[in-house]
């Protein structure tokens, strides 16, 4: 089940494991990414917590957890080459995976059609 947040995260839920990334639109808007900070494995998070940071040339952007739970995997390979974070690869580039406490957390998120309508 793929969902999107108003803050341009995507969340892909498989059983109780939710992979989280940022949308192609978000990557495009950020422009050149110069620094990424990802959370530590084992971190307990609440829905809406700022758990990762993307810094572009111009600005810093927080990445929020779409659901509460525990961070169980982090895609640190992304940090090796920030230029590989592109709009084209954004849907494949998950940032972290959460073992979620409550699938209900994702209910307020948008499906892809609604998200695409929001970004126009």
């Amino acid at each position: 089940m793929l969902k999107f947040s108003e803050d341009h995260e995507w969340a892909n839920l498989d059983a109780d494991i939710c992979a989280v990334g940022i949308s192609p639109h978000a990557v495009e808007q950020l422009g050149d990414i110069v620094f990424v900070e990802l959370p530590d494995i084992g971190l307990a998070v609440n829905k809406g917590d700022a758990v990762a940071v993307f810094e572009s040339v111009k600005a810093a952007s927080d990445i929020y957890s779409p659901a509460g739970g525990e961070i169980i995997e982090v895609n640190n390979a992304l940090l090796d080459d920030l230029t590989a974070i592109t709009p084209e690869s954004a849907m494949a580039n998950w940032l972290f995976k959460i073992k979620i406490n409550d699938a209900g957390d994702l209910e307020s998120l948008m499906d892809e059609a609604a998200y695409n309508a929001m970004i126009g």
Binding site: G31, D32, V34, F35, S56, V57
Partner: protein, 364 residues
């Protein structure tokens, strides 16, 4: 408030610009290549920036020089025909109301002021105007900045004769039948030109420059990273009504004759700082690590608050984060290690001399 558009708005869209609101204008922050690529193309070749949001003001009449001197620390008599100076409007506390460029051409003074301060500046000028000076605001002109080591070659290839045209000169040129007023100046630290033209000719000129095949379109994002590396102040960051030119490293803009006369706004405060040093000084700052330290971050030394970052981001030519900020004068020395109070704790950050990237102006 409705945003304004420069005559090049459609041109920007057609060239893949991402438009953002800036100082009441819809401006290109970047094109498809992105800020880093546009920045590096400017340092290595030539970048073309639309700066038509900046406001062009003309002062004429027998009182124009005296009028200008009442508001600034510039010896305007020393700005001879065909020359340009960096200047600023000061308040009585010695603070900078705005910084600007002033040039003398055809016996008149031509000012270019910041877009974000234009309304303020025009009001300020109006309030101080007398009947010996006439002020005209040229809303019917566009302004393009062509910057970088290849900029002169680009203009020469279009038939402009740049012989004897040096940094901080201003001159009339024509391209085809289009009248241009060009200054050899800019906001990147590179050799370059600022080209004023009738608004209706802006697209033709921009297209002619692009058609040389050696010019990269660059947006406000690259303009900001370039000026940051060059250590050039941006009003609202390194300059404001509480910051003196002495604090901001602008002693060169305080003319000797005016210092001796002590007859400019805030002269007592500024001259005291000129002689004894200001409390804080503008410096370059290089943080350790890859994470940019942003505007507004406090700077600490032995746990004591001794400064603040005023512009912080990524410096593409240095390939690392870089910042500008104010630091207590006794710590404002190259190599001093401070701590930036970032969200995650304290990040070591080193004071460095400005500019971060050497200026390469053409002084002839």
């Amino acid at each position: 408030m409705e945003t304004q558009r420069t005559p090049l708005y459609d041109f920007h869209i057609a060239n893949g610009a991402r438009i953002v609101p800036f100082a009441g204008w819809d401006m290109p922050v970047q094109y498809a290549a992105g800020i880093k690529a546009e920045h590096l193309a400017t340092r290595d070749g030539a970048g073309l920036f639309d700066v038509s949001h900046m406001v062009q003001v003309e002062l004429s009449g027998r009182g124009a020089d005296a009028f200008f001197e009442r508001l600034t620390p510039t010896d305007i008599g020393a700005v001879t025909e065909g020359r340009v100076r960096y200047s600023m409007l000061l308040n009585d506390a010695g603070g900078v109301l705005d910084d600007l460029m002033v040039a003398r051409l055809d016996g008149r003074l031509h000012l270019v002021v910041n877009a974000g301060r234009a309304t303020h500046d025009i009001n300020h000028l109006h309030q101080n105007l007398d009947d010996t000076t006439k002020m005209d605001v040229h809303h019917d002109k566009a302004l393009l900045a062509l910057q970088g080591p290849n900029a002169a070659r680009v203009l020469s290839s279009l038939g402009l004769d740049l012989d004897g045209f040096r940094f901080m000169d201003i001159r009339h040129f024509t391209l085809g039948a289009i009248p241009l007023v060009i200054t050899r100046s800019g906001y990147t630290g590179e050799d370059g030109f600022e080209i004023s033209m009738p608004a209706k000719s802006a697209v033709d000129i921009a297209e002619a420059l692009l058609a040389t095949g050696t010019v990269t379109l660059a947006g406000l994002g690259a303009r900001d990273t370039l000026r940051l590396e060059a250590g050039l102040p941006l009003w609202g960051h390194e300059l404001d009504e509480t910051i003196t030119p002495t604090m901001a490293g602008l002693r060169f803009a305080l003319s000797k004759k005016r210092r001796e006369a002590a007859d400019f706004p805030g002269a007592n405060i500024i001259l005291d700082e000129f002689a004894n040093g200001p409390k804080r000084r503008l410096v370059g700052l290089l943080a350790s690590g890859a994470r940019p330290v942003r505007d507004g971050t406090n700077l600490l030394h032995d746990g004591v608050d001794i400064g603040i970052i005023t512009s912080g981001g990524f410096a593409p030519s240095l390939d690392r984060p870089a910042a500008l900020g104010f630091v207590d004068t006794h710590l404002a020395h190259d190599g001093t290690i401070l701590a930036a109070a970032t969200r995650g704790g304290e990040t070591p950050i080193t004071v460095v001399n400005l500019p971060l990237v050497p200026h390469r102006y053409f002084r002839g």
